[in-house]
């Protein structure tokens, strides 16, 4: 029973976080600094998440630093050249698999 209650409480709390600023800023208006910050939210959030996730992958990969870093380099290059996020996966995963297999 406690498991169900905990999950519901965590979900309710998460929803309150999501709607907090929607309610608050809907009443008082958006501060200018927040308006200017909006364009940066996605790039910085993705950079932070990608860095953290990659660090975890590097730690977990027994083959070492090379496969994940080479895969990221291939992914970044493909994304820049093609301009589509999925290109990063199509370029990065084969590099990751191949180097992991070679170095394992």
């Amino acid at each position: 029973m406690i498991v169900w209650l905990v999950i519901v409480a965590a979900g309710l709390g998460s929803y309150l976080l999501r709607i907090s600023m929607v309610v608050l800023l809907g009443r008082v208006g958006t501060p200018a600094v927040l308006e200017r910050s909006k364009p940066f939210v996605v790039p910085v959030a993705f950079a932070a998440l990608a860095a953290t996730s990659l660090a975890g992958q590097v730690e977990a990969n027994l083959a070492g630093l090379l496969p994940p870093l080479a895969a990221v380099a291939a992914a970044a290059l493909a994304a820049q050249r093609i301009g589509r996020p999925y290109a990063a996966i199509l370029a990065g995963m084969p590099v990751f698999w191949a180097l992991t297999a070679l170095l394992a």
């Binding site: 519901v8 600023m21 909006k38 953290t52 977990a60 994304a79």
Partner: protein
């Protein structure tokens, strides 16, 4: 309900948003799958584990919740940890709020529920192209993308719960998530201020990794935005990148199969140990 929410043009906008979300599904689907595997191994009722999807709707927080519940942690610890990891949602909420001001209350309640990284990215790209006095098309676009994300996320979690344990851990499907984030990030860095902001955020996120409950992510976002503001001065810092799918035409890459599903990817990366362990 206003007819503007259900006419042919409305369906076209919602469909465009849904198509714009499909590439995201390829990126976060494996993450949802891995979470499903975690859910299957958490040692709690399968339905309760799956419910972390629709209720928490954020990948890394779900991973943390499942790991803690499986380890028998106290309920308060689980809830506090989930909320700490999800604290960044407040910033996303602030980013979307101006576009939703004046819209119906039911809409704001529903739209807020769908806020997570992929819906934020797809939604903001469309809202920036919308007219301030007519946000309705952008609302529908966001809703279409958000619902596809939601359905795909829940489906991949369920799939992971059912068949995930049979997929070889050596495929490292969880690596798809950071690759996709890099792929989405790189085209956005054409403006120098955005580049500095992203670099600062990545550096802080790495330095703050030891911080509990991924609170370092929140700090990294705040520092990155601050650096971006300082670097940009009063100029408009980040244009809509060319990589962002256009509204109706080429949002769906031909190379993606129709069956691709999504995650809420929140895509928030799980704590390193938890995710890599879950995949095995």
């Amino acid at each position: 309900m206003n007819s503007a929410w259900c006419g042919r043009e409305a369906r076209a906008e919602a469909g465009a948003g849904a198509r714009a979300m499909l590439p995201w599904l390829a990126g976060i689907g494996p993450f949802g799958f891995v979470i499903g595997v975690s859910a299957a191994r958490a040692g709690i009722p399968p339905l309760a584990a799956w419910l972390t999807g629709p209720l928490i709707f954020a990948g890394s927080a779900q991973v943390a919740a499942l790991a803690l519940l499986g380890a028998g942690a106290a309920g308060a610890v689980v809830v506090v940890t989930v909320l700490a990891i999800n604290a960044r949602l407040v910033l996303y909420s602030a980013a979307m709020a101006p576009y939703w001001r004046g819209s119906p209350r039911w809409w704001r309640a529903l739209a807020a529920y769908l806020i997570v990284e992929p819906s934020l990215a797809v939604g903001l790209d469309r809202y920036r192209r919308s007219a301030p006095d007519d946000r309705q098309p952008a609302h529908l676009y966001y809703l279409g993308g958000g619902l596809v994300l939601w359905a795909g996320w829940l489906a991949t979690i369920a799939l992971g719960q059912v068949v995930g344990t049979r997929v070889p851990a050596g495929l490292h499907l969880e690596f798809v998530v950071p690759l996709f984030l890099v792929g989405d990030l790189v085209p956005r860095l054409s403006v120098r201020a955005a580049g500095w902001a992203a670099l600062a955020a990545a550096a802080v996120a790495l330095a703050a990794r030891p911080a509990p409950a991924q609170t370092g992510i929140m700090l990294a976002i705040l520092v990155g935005v601050t650096v971006g503001l300082r670097a940009s001065g009063d100029a408009d810092p980040v244009p809509v990148p060319a990589a962002v799918p256009e509204p109706l035409s080429d949002a769906v890459p031909e190379s993606l199969p129709d069956s691709i599903s999504d995650p809420v990817s929140d895509p928030v990366p799980a704590p390193a140990g938890a995710r890599s362990g879950d995949a095995r």
